[in-house]
Amino acid sequence: MGSVRRSQHIKCSPDKAWQIIGDPSRLHEWFPIVSCRVEGNKRWISLANGLVFEEDIVLVDNYLRRFQYTIVNNPIVTQHLGTVDVIDDGHGECIAIYSTDMKPNVLALGIGAAAHNGLLKVKKILEGTI
């Protein structure tokens, strides 16, 4: 199993960060994709190269501030669980953590790279530097 984790400290409250990170339909605002569409517990995301990923939304836990999803019906991806956490840093600000566990292993690195870029962007959005 390929397992990666990326994180960013964000200078805003956990609740404020969760408003965007915890909303599955707002992924395109910060993650490097061109669009996303949500219907019930399903989500479809479109990449710049034309690829479309179908996902099942597994969990939106507003108390834990945890979002989980899994890529489904994909000819390459055989196992996947993505987890995004927003954690109180104890000082009124937060840490956003994006974890991916999947097969093929190496695709986790590519999602990790996208997550790194995405977390940097959401940090700028939430800190008002973009």
Partner: protein, 522 residues
């Protein structure tokens, strides 16, 4: 007008592959002529033995610890120093045709310019730097990419898809269904990554790179100064040259390479002297890095497979030499020859059967570290041909390009321009050369630091998954040119070992921390 620069690189080519370096199989008359009329470096090392870190050293003039591309899959930042940018700022027209690989090849989210350019069918991307300046990506006016086959987001694959779609499937499929480097065998011997490729020779990427180089050069004005990086993807695996060319070298006629111990017990005994990652890769119990097939066990490699891989490699090297010949002919036709400097080298070597191994990884021996490197200065510079035996590194290339252009040595480089001869090397302190390895792949951690000096190669393993930091390798090239006898723990050689380690500690650049993230396996 100044001196123009043709920088020719191959990928994963051994020192002994060329006629000028003792090779007896592949016919390489064009490269041999460069060596005869120029400077042939017989102890040139890369600063890392895989593509991205090594190529990043070429363009930045820095060691991996400084430029930060510490393993394949770590991107060179878009605003990293670039000798191409320095030359462009001095008025040079600049291009890179062929394999770049400063950024990950597996880039599904199109985070990197190399991927975006090919997808968008453009040949440059403007970047905005921190100081507000806007300039082409890495300082190249024109970038046109190729890699090992017709897949992925590179211009060559686009060209194949648009012009010769019927031949796309003829190449070896580099990745398997798990997106791991494929262990599938082919050819006559079922050797890994070998395939009979039905593609027409003129559509193969070697000729395409030469064609695109000629087209770019032909677009220039006669009095332009230019820096042209022609970067062939071969002879890197997969070994799938056009089938029409296989008659050049029959693998059945080849002797086994000197570095291949024919007896399995001998192979195991040699590897047992080395740090544990050697033996554990050989028996398939520990694959530390992505560059070799995950599901291939080196111990299964047969002598005939070694012969066939070598034959395929020799064929690919002949095709490269002929492609270079075409470009040199074009330069001659344009009337540029007397003012063109040509530098030929590669990014790292290949086992090609040495120790019973193929491919590459954290193994700092001549198979992977001793590179062909030739500089044929422009005839107008009146430089006397020479053979340089002093140790030099790819890290000196950037300063060399600057010196050819008549520019001061850029502040960002960490090594001086290449020496003209051994006396020049001695006077300018070319005594040692460093090579680094770091890799972290899903919990498997390997690191090492190597110095080559005075005919010795000394490698210290860093603490990691298999090593506690006390292990290492020490080879005396004078007595052991194949690096079979590891003297690391030999008390008689403790003094030279400790001296080399102290030298390395005092002169090797400190690694810039924190390490940048790994964005892809390669």
């Amino acid at each position: 007008m100044g001196r123009r620069i043709l920088f020719i690189t191959t990928d994963q080519q051994r020192f002994d592959s060329l006629g000028c370096n003792g090779g007896t199989i592949a016919r390489t008359p064009n490269i041999d002529a460069l060596a005869k009329n120029g400077i042939n470096y017989t102890r040139a090392h890369p600063q890392n033995v895989v593509c991205m870190p090594s190529r990043s050293t070429m363009i930045t003039g820095q060691h991996p610890s400084t430029h930060g591309v510490w393993m394949n899959g770590v991107a060179l930042p878009f605003d990293a120093p670039s000798i191409a940018a320095t030359l462009r700022n001095a008025g040079y027209k600049t291009a890179l045709l062929g394999k770049a690989h400063f950024e990950p090849l597996l880039d599904p989210f199109q985070l990197f310019a190399e991927t975006r350019m090919a997808t968008q069918k453009v040949f440059t991307e403007m970047q905005t730097f921190a100081d507000g300046t806007v300039a082409p990506h890495r300082g190249f006016d024109h970038m046109e990419f190729a890699t090992h086959g017709a897949q992925g987001s590179v211009h060559y694959a686009q060209w194949m898809r648009e012009n010769h779609p019927e031949s796309l499937g003829q190449f070896f499929t580099v990745l398997d269904h798990e997106l791991e480097v494929s262990a599938v065998g082919g050819g006559d011997t079922n050797a890994p990554q070998v395939k009979f490729n039905e593609i027409q020779r003129e559509w193969y990427h070697t000729d395409w790179v030469a064609d695109r180089t000629i087209a770019w050069l032909d677009s220039l004005d006669a009095d332009d100064d230019w820096f042209c990086w022609m970067s062939f993807p071969d002879p890197h695996h997969p070994w799938d040259p056009p089938k029409s060319e296989l008659g050049r070298v029959n693998w059945r006629d080849l002797d086994l390479p000197h570095g291949y111990p024919t007896d399995a017990t001998t192979r195991k005994n040699i590897l047992a002297q080395k740090p544990l990652h050697w033996s554990k890769w050989y028996d398939g119990s520990f694959v530390s890095n992505y560059e070799a097939p995950l599901h291939w066990i080196p111990a299964t490699l047969t002598a005939d497979q070694v012969r066939e891989v070598n034959a395929m490699t020799h064929i690919e090297n002949e095709l490269i030499d002929e492609a270079i010949g075409r470009v040199l002919k074009m330069i001659e036709t344009k009337g540029w020859t007397s003012d063109v400097d040509i530098i030929f080298t590669t990014d790292h070597g290949e086992f090609q059967g040495d120790f019973g191994l193929l491919f590459k990884g954290p193994y700092h021996v001549d198979s992977l570290m001793r590179l062909p490197m030739i500089w044929k200065p422009a005839p107008s510079a009146n430089v006397t041909p020479a053979v340089v035996t002093a140790p030099v590194g790819l890290v000196s290339l950037a300063a060399t390009f600057a010196s050819i252009a008549g520019l001061p040595t850029p502040e960002y480089v960490e090594a001086p321009a290449l020496p003209f001869n051994d006396a020049d090397a001695a006077s300018r302190g070319f005594e040692s050369v460093f090579t680094e390895w770091d890799s972290v792949l899903f919990g498997k951690i390997i690191g090492s630091r190597t110095i080559h000096r005075d005919g010795w190669t000394c490698t210290r393993m860093l603490p990691g998954t298999l090593h506690d930091g006390t292990e290492g390798e020490l080879y005396n090239h004078a007595n052991d040119p194949m690096q079979h006898v590891n003297l690391w723990n030999d008390l008689q050689h403790k003094a030279i070992r400790d001296d080399l380690l102290a030298d390395m500690r005092s002169t090797m650049p400190e690694q810039v921390l924190p390490l940048r993230p790994v964005d892809a396996p390669v």
